[in-house]
């Protein structure tokens, strides 16, 4: 670690891990209720549990993005962060607002639009915190070296903040409500967040492969270009059945079908660069996450997204467990694995150690990734059965759900393994150091 101010990333990564744990625990709780529907039903209804599951996910991913940005920006701009104190202040506003939101949910205090359930004052606090963050990192970039990696990352972060403002607009016409709700939800995860993902991956690939920045950043622009060229009009795949005009079936089908291309390009990019790499970086666990992230994102977001994105297919699958399957693997591959990659890369430097506990870390990678894959398969099978029975045969919703119990049991099992994997990861990265590369080993392989 070359810059003292990078140390502030530690705080964000720690906060992220607390909420990561909350997210997966509430996920298992929700999965348990699918098979024991009476469990907790009087005390803590399913809607609150799911709200915490999804909100904790979004908030910890954002904390990871903030931490990752604070970590990489000094190295990219070749100067200290504009203000460490501002970063700390911004962290605590964000973290306490998120914690207050979760406690509020448990007490039944919430709004009612999916993923945007935060009470208005929490939304305002989040906005203030994000603006402080953007001011801090933009000033750092403004005064320092302006690399393409940093610029793409910051563009993604600014985009995320700007499109979040649509969360404050809630028209009483449900169709308009949905039209702009997607400006937050879709344009985040299939638009500007892909810029954040590609930016952080570019930084990691430059570090672990040692390939010339010029080459990596050229392809970075190609990838983020493909993301937005396809992703913006790809929003149309959410406009098929909500009361929007019929042309979205054409626009959405065509553009969202090619949303798979940037994800495939990211896989090629990462593997090609590692193949070309002159450097044998000692942090093998970080390398594994760097390759795993685009690969699982390609399957989760790309393949599983494509599977039900064409409007004649989506007509039958819309709002079934197929959507749930896609959502789980896409978020895990694209954004969870991205954060775990930057954390795995950064933590040895933040703790002033050589890469440590790498075997344990890689175990957590395989455990979590195979459990998420299994969960996705079970939900996909559940979704296919549901689509046929309910949408083709016309059986009633609850009758169909009774047919899916076996799949929900297997999903619960997969969820338990995800929790074990998450705990293993946190222990490997934050826990006691059991094995560490010696300085000689690390120096034999020049790297930073």
């Amino acid at each position: 670690m070359r810059y003292q101010s990078q140390q502030v990333a530690w705080l964000f990564f720690a906060g992220a891990m607390v909420l990561f744990l909350a997210q997966v625990l509430f996920g298992v709780l929700a999965g348990l209720i699918y098979v024991y529907p009476n469990f907790l039903s009087e005390l803590l209804p399913f809607n609150i549990i799911r709200m915490i599951h999804t909100n904790a996910l979004i908030v910890w991913l954002l904390l990871g993005f903030f931490g990752g940005t604070y970590y990489l920006l000094p190295e990219e701009t070749e100067r200290e962060l504009f203000s460490v104190r501002l970063a700390q202040l911004q962290f605590w506003i964000f973290f306490l607002a998120a914690a207050a939101a979760v406690v509020g949910y448990l007490l039944g205090i919430h709004e009612g639009r999916e993923f945007l359930e935060q009470p208005t004052w929490v939304k305002v606090a989040i906005t203030i915190s994000v603006l402080l963050f953007l001011f801090n990192v933009s000033m750092t970039l403004f005064k320092g070296r302006k690399t393409a990696t940093a610029q793409v990352l910051l563009l993604g972060l600014w985009g995320a903040a700007i499109f979040f403002l649509f969360a404050f607009y809630n028209p009483s016409n449900l169709v308009l409500d949905k039209l702009y709700w997607w400006w937050v939800v879709h344009i985040w995860v299939e638009g500007v967040w892909e810029l954040i993902m590609a930016g952080i991956l570019a930084f990691l690939l430059i570090k672990v492969t040692g390939v010339d920045r010029e080459v990596i950043e050229k392809w970075l622009y190609v990838i983020v270009g493909l993301s937005l060229f396809t992703g913006l009009l790809g929003t149309g795949h959410h406009y098929y059945w909500i009361g929007a005009p019929g042309y979205w079936q054409w626009v959405g089908s065509i553009f969202s079908a090619v949303e798979i291309v940037p994800f495939f390009a990211m896989v090629l990019w990462a593997f090609y660069l590692v193949y070309q790499g002159r450097r044998d970086h000692p942090n093998k666990a970080a390398l594994l996450w760097c390759l795993g992230c685009p690969t699982v994102a390609f399957f989760g977001a790309g393949v599983w997204g494509f599977m039900h994105t064409l409007s004649p297919i989506n007509y039958y699958t819309h709002g079934t467990q197929v959507t749930a399957a896609h959502g789980h693997l896409a978020f895990y591959g694209a954004y969870v694995m991205l954060n775990l990659a930057i954390i795995t890369y950064a933590m040895p430097n933040l703790r002033g150690l050589q890469p440590f506990n790498q075997v344990l870390n890689m175990w957590s990678f395989w455990l979590m990734t195979s459990a998420m894959a299994f969960m996705t398969f079970t939900l996909t099978f559940a979704g296919v059965v549901q689509t046929h029975l309910q949408r083709v045969m016309g059986m009633s919703y609850m009758e169909v759900q009774d047919q899916l119990t076996l799949f929900y049991w297997m999903r619960l099992g997969a969820g338990v393994f995800v929790v074990v994997g998450a705990i293993l990861f946190i222990y490997a990265v934050y826990g006691p150091v059991r094995e560490q590369l010696t300085v000689q080993e690390a120096q034999a392989q020049p790297a930073e």
């Binding site: 009087e42 009612g112 060229f229 007509y315 016309g394």
Partner: protein, 150 residues
């Protein structure tokens, strides 16, 4: 690999192309906004009761179990067409009574069956919420869902 393309050219294509596609997207959404405000909904029917009903819907986070027009959680039935499932098109009074009775009888407490909480809705809340659901069932959704099961 791609020697003909420089980083500067790739950057310009990214910024120019993204701006272009954003403008196209924004124009289409502007048209869709107009369409959604005038053509696909029951404009006259969007009265105070329906607006209040949407607030009831949000206050109790119904969307974190149910779906509405296919969006939401997938834990409980689709409600975009619940009004039609209850026969509201032919017998509005009967459907309203049946839905009110449903809210009041929750939770069912049946073992092994998903439980909907009792939200202690007032008469006014129930009436508004049902008006909202009835209004939603009249949105022109390009023929979705495929059948009454939702």
């Amino acid at each position: 690999m791609g020697e003909g393309l420089t980083r500067a050219a790739a950057r310009n294509i990214f910024y120019g192309g993204s701006l272009f596609f954003f403008v196209v997207f924004a124009l289409l959404v502007a048209h869709s906004h107009y369409y959604a405000a005038s053509s696909s909904i029951d404009v006259v029917g969007l009265n105070d009761a329906v607006v209040r009903g949407k607030r009831v819907w949000e206050r109790h986070a119904c969307i974190n179990c149910h779906t509405i027009l296919g969006e939401g959680a997938y834990f409980a039935p689709e409600l975009g067409n619940v009004w039609l499932r209850y026969g509201g098109a032919d017998d509005p009074a009967g459907a309203k009574d049946a839905l009110t009775a449903w809210f009041q009888s929750m939770p069912s407490g049946v073992e092994g069956r998903r439980q909907m909480p009792n939200f202690n809705l007032s008469e006014q809340d129930m009436s508004d919420l049902i008006d909202f659901l009835a209004w939603v069932s009249r949105i022109k959704t390009q023929g979705w869902p495929p059948n009454e099961a939702g």
